[in-house]
Amino acid sequence: MTDTDPALPLPAMPFIKVEPNGVARLEFQKCTACGAFSLETNRIACGKCGARGSFVAHQPETTTGTLHSYSIVHRSFPGVAVPFVSAIVDMDNGPSLKGNLRGIAQDPESISLGMAVNVVLDDALNRKDDQGNSYVCHFFEPIAAK
């Protein structure tokens, strides 16, 4: 018996959890003393207030957020497919994340800062580790104004 089902994808970041049923969700760490969020699971003290041992798990109530900044990347490290939109999103009930903004034209005319986005979890662009494991990663998608 192993703890994890080898068929399940692995989380690409420590703040992504994959349930035994395969559903992925976000789980951050939150300081009970000052409310600061952390994306790291192993924290011994808080970088904002200095409190020790104050972090507890925090599951955001929603996956929505706003686009804080971005760059359309046309040249990256060797072998990386371009273009893509690198973005910073401030979650409404969680921390700020960096990720790819997808589902939108890669054109400054189409991307407006402050726009509402959703944080979605999906396959990590078919990238696998050297054991052939699949991963699940976060992406940002615009919430269409209706």
């Binding site: 969020f37 970088g47 990347v73 690198s86 800062l113």
Partner: protein, 377 residues
């Protein structure tokens, strides 16, 4: 506590020197700085040596120019490495233990690709979770500013036009080439809004400074000496988006405020500024971070020509990192070299007339910032 002076300072012409070692590049800068001070390596009592990509470079430099067993501290502080070496030398003299201290920064970067490290993960994160490249990181910092104050791609590109124009008067710059606005905006887009001409160049370079106590400065003669009025170093305080989005502003704001308080000098007293234009998007942010203008006024300051040669407060008369090149650990001392050259009235065609006080600034991502304020002795 002794005042501290720069008695000698030099930089090699930044460029590509694949046939030379970092130690040899550093040795050239050190000998230049010693000659400038009228001293020899036997007069140096301690060394602070900055290098990001090679270890124990201070000793390797002394092995080239004269090694006599003096204390050497090797240090690395990202793009603020050279300025940090100067600050450590400044503190060593202020401690009263030394009268003559060498600060040197060297980097050999020929053949290095785009800088920036991917995040820790079992799979490659670049292009999966945004970009960790430096052009994208600083593009995002610029777009944050653009959203706040309405700066445009054209405004950011105009920074590069200005700095590349300045470089045509600087024989030590790597790129000495006019780049009209259409050329900058039409160049290869690296990470919007930074095109190729809006990114600093990976080059080989070295710069060195000889810092001396007031007693030693007077003994040598104050003729060309430059007084260090402030030396300030700050790190980035906690910020909610950091390090997902590195905070390049807070450390600069803190170090600038400290430097103004330490020196009693007001930003309006400055005759010139050399600031960390690693990417064109960064320069506008630092106008405000360094208090050269009010919040939201950076575009106006640039577009009114106030920061261009002949303007009220010229910025990056050397051509900046954009055209001079950015050999990481040498950059901080090279910025000080440019300011010293103007204070000494030796900047030739790009000389800021009557320059008496100047500021040199660097930012090292991770993040740290150093600000020095210099005054003609």
């Amino acid at each position: 506590m002794s005042d501290v002076y720069i008695a000698g300072i030099d930089m090699i012409k930044f460029g590509r020197y694949p046939d030379k070692t970092p130690a040899l590049l550093g040795a050239e800068a050190v000998l230049g700085a010693l000659d400038d001070a009228g001293l020899t390596i036997k007069d140096v009592q301690a060394v602070y040596s900055g290098c990001v990509f090679n270890s124990m470079n201070g000793q390797k430099i002394l092995q080239q120019v004269g090694a006599f067993g003096i204390p050497v501290t090797n240090l690395s502080n990202a793009c603020a490495t050279g300025a940090t070496a100067v600050r450590d030398a400044w503190m060593a003299i202020r401690s009263g233990d030394y009268d003559v201290v060498l600060a040197v920064g060297v980097e050999q970067m020929t053949g290095m690709g785009m800088l920036g490290g991917p995040r820790a993960s079992a799979i490659s994160t670049e292009g999966l979770m945004g970009s960790a490249s430096m052009p994208a990181t600083f593009a995002e910092a610029g777009m944050e500013y653009a959203a706040k104050y309405g700066a445009t791609f054209e405004n950011f590109a105009s920074v590069a036009v200005k700095n590349h124009h300045h470089s045509t008067f600087n024989p030590k710059a790597m790129l000495q080439k006019e780049t009209p606005l259409e050329m900058v905006m039409g160049a290869e887009m690296i990470a919007y809004p930074n095109t190729k001409f809006m990114c600093s160049i990976n080059v080989d370079g070295a710069a060195a400074a000889i810092l001396v106590s007031e007693r030693k400065a007077k003994e040598l003669g104050l003729g060309r000496a430059v007084r260090i009025r402030a030396s300030a170093l700050a790190s980035d305080p906690w910020q909610e988006r950091n390090p997902q989005m590195p905070d390049i502003n807070s450390a600069t704001r803190l170090s600038a405020q400290q430097a103004y308080e330490m020196s009693g000098i007001d930003p309006s007293d400055l005759d010139l500024v050399e600031l960390h234009d690693c990417f064109a998007t960064a320069e506008l942010l630092h106008y405000e971070n360094l208090q050269l203008c009010g919040e939201g006024e950076a575009v106006r300051l640039l577009e009114d020509g106030e920061t261009a040669i002949g303007g009220r407060i010229p910025v990056n008369l050397s051509g900046g990192l954009l055209s001079k090149g950015h050999p990481i650990a040498a950059t901080g001392i090279a910025n000080l070299y440019e300011v010293c050259t103007h204070l000494r009235g030796e900047a030739g065609q790009r000389q800021q007339p009557g320059a008496k006080i100047g500021l040199a600034h660097v930012v090292g991502l991770g993040t740290c910032s150093a600000v020095h304020i210099l005054e003609k002795a």
